[in-house]
Symmetry: C2
Subunit: 477 residues, 2 copies
Amino acid sequence: MSKEKVWKLLVLVAIPIIVALLPTPAGLPPIAWLLFGLYLAAIVGLVLKPYSEPVILLATIAATAIVIGLYGAKDVKAAEVLKGYSSGTTWLVFAAFTLSAAFVITGLGKRIAYILIGKLGGTTLGLGYVTAILDLVIAPATPSNTARAGGIVFPIINSVAVALGSDPETSPRKAGHYLMVNVYMVTKTTSYMFLTAMAPNALALAMMSDILHIQLSWTGWALAAALPGLLMLVLTPFIIYKMYPPELKKVDNKKIAAAGLAELGPMTLREKMLAGVFVLALLGWIFAKSLGIDESSVAIGVMALSLILGIVTWDDVLKNKGGWNTLIWYGGIIGMSGVLTKAGFFKWLAEVLGETLNFGDHSMMAFFAIMFISVAIRYLFASGGAYVAAMVPVFATVGVVSGAPAMLLALGLLFSNAYGGALTHYGGAAAPIVFGAGYNDIRSWWIIGGVIAFLSLLVHMTIGVGWWEMLISMGII
Amino acid sequence: MSKEKVWKLLVLVAIPIIVALLPTPAGLPPIAWLLFGLYLAAIVGLVLKPYSEPVILLATIAATAIVIGLYGAKDVKAAEVLKGYSSGTTWLVFAAFTLSAAFVITGLGKRIAYILIGKLGGTTLGLGYVTAILDLVIAPATPSNTARAGGIVFPIINSVAVALGSDPETSPRKAGHYLMVNVYMVTKTTSYMFLTAMAPNALALAMMSDILHIQLSWTGWALAAALPGLLMLVLTPFIIYKMYPPELKKVDNKKIAAAGLAELGPMTLREKMLAGVFVLALLGWIFAKSLGIDESSVAIGVMALSLILGIVTWDDVLKNKGGWNTLIWYGGIIGMSGVLTKAGFFKWLAEVLGETLNFGDHSMMAFFAIMFISVAIRYLFASGGAYVAAMVPVFATVGVVSGAPAMLLALGLLFSNAYGGALTHYGGAAAPIVFGAGYNDIRSWWIIGGVIAFLSLLVHMTIGVGWWEMLISMGII
């Protein structure tokens, strides 16, 4: 083990021990205090990352079950820490990961990209919009940002940049600088447009539902996000184009598209079946709730169908490490959050905050303040999942205390979870991949990211809030 | 898709449809009848295997959740079909799979083997006992028969056979025929000696507990199995030796051991740590219940510790396909069995069987009959897991109806689940590997398997039953 790993490990082991040695705050059940120490260690572990996320969570789960067992707690049972693994959230994300992989494996993602390039990519600005449309089209069934932006959109737009003669070293500003940063910025918008467009979405919703007592269907989510999301998708490629205009304006898109499509050959049966399964998934998610079916059942059904039809093989699923990692660590953190809730931690936290903080009649001001902090704090987080685990319960609890409208708060936080990641070149899973292409420098990335993230916040807090209040008053969400 | 796959798939799709079209039996809730059709399709799917087990179960789960949702059942909820994934059983097996892999990856399994060969392998019969002891020593933490018998014991004993000049084609009877079939037959005994010695053990226990209302700890299991198990381990290498005496009697074991150990080099830190973790796991499982801790928490803790110490890496776990397969399909079948129980199916089945079958005062005769059938029926099953899913609930239900003592019935069935697999060259996961070495013919394998399996049954029904009754009367199990 490296020295760095050893001290990180010592920090993580020390956290629950120190918390346990401190006196239990008044009004909090002792077991909840012990569990809080373990949860805190898990979050710090997700940030320090001495091991990958699943290892951190497996260790936390085991420690939690053993602590509950030894302590002999009555309100919460050891076996409950495993409950996250039977959570629909975990399975929704895991199953949709298979669909993400299917777009890469079958080549359907590539085909859609080249068709769009051929139709709309006659200028560099047009290519920016091609990126936005491509990302939006496949977003509903690709919760893996790594698979969508990193695995489908990035390689194609990157090869387009190269084909346009833009070199990361000698001529980044010719086209690559613009195209690459745009890939990331638009995916930070599409990611909040569907429950299934980014893995941490479902995680955040599950954690928020417990505390805010809200219910949001797949369709409700998509409707609420549609107006601010589409607006930002229209604005983003244009704003970046104006801020850092690429030197090259015109593109011989027909040649690029023809070459790309020729390489793919005629559309395969698997691609056609995937297109069908994709439509089925969309219809399923849109109509699931009204038929009494869970969104996760639709996702598992669609996954099973893809396997039965041979669109992907079980071996493809076994090799899809991102899916398994997510299954293990999401299930773990949802289970941890569940036992903490059951032990009465968040109830106590709300009481304490209620006595300490006094927002008076300024609940809307509190809402805006929480939203601003939820974005700004993302400079500190290198992972959307870690941010969700650490901050979502806190923001939701503060929101409850402040008296801010629960559904507005939920939607605001659910969406800022995605666009907040636009700020930095490490803010989301796809960022290091896109940044790693070498066309972009940190300074211009952060400037663009700051503009896009805070503009998104402004749009959401004005047009967004108005739109959501309308949907709520109409009983749609 | 091949033609064979298509007709198998059609059969599987037809089963729940035909069941649904048939009138619901009197006294059974309609939803339970629909779910039974799906469960039946899953079991037939596990036997026909048009796809691997996880695919069958994922499809079944999705169909079940959708059927429950569309039907609007009140007693059972769609989300409950996922409950198997938060079952301690599933996680116990999954976590212990990592330990199995660790014995292979670190080389500790090999080292123990060569040490035993050096000490006790001076004759072919001695090598038979080396195999038994080696398999017994690592059995408590290697629930993967493929990893233990197929991945550790088999390669070493196979290379010993080759080193002794026994060739599968020209001289199988010199040593290889005896050594190979013995590898499989002893593992069919060690597999029932610990809850954690074979994956389907925990599955069978979980399914049986629901129906027979029994509780059995890791320690209770090990104690109950110890007497018949050790006796069979003493008998097996000797009986096979007498039935098919190898031509070679003496072995230059010192040379083989020295060469093997030289190749391994000095014991590594990882091997030492694994030995420590293994002892910790044993202590944990022995004392878990008395400390109020679940056996599954011990298993997850030990897995996490192995990862933290770097004995295995998370990448090793990701690559361990057997573990993921088991996680998905065990969790699925446990969830299916759970919703079927909740919907009232097994209660109804017991009532119907109670009216139909009349054992009078012959409950012990019924017990023996069930036990005999539980072994004989294994000629039909190529997978211990499929046998458990299909037959354990039925045998347990018939047992309840017959009035046979619940704990005797449970122990009898839990153990016959392993030794019943001795019968054929496809009876367990390790069988095709060992048989595939080419030293054995089907005829002699089936003769030896028949002798070992039915002798085990005889031992269990005489000495075993006496031993279990003693343990029960002393309040130990």
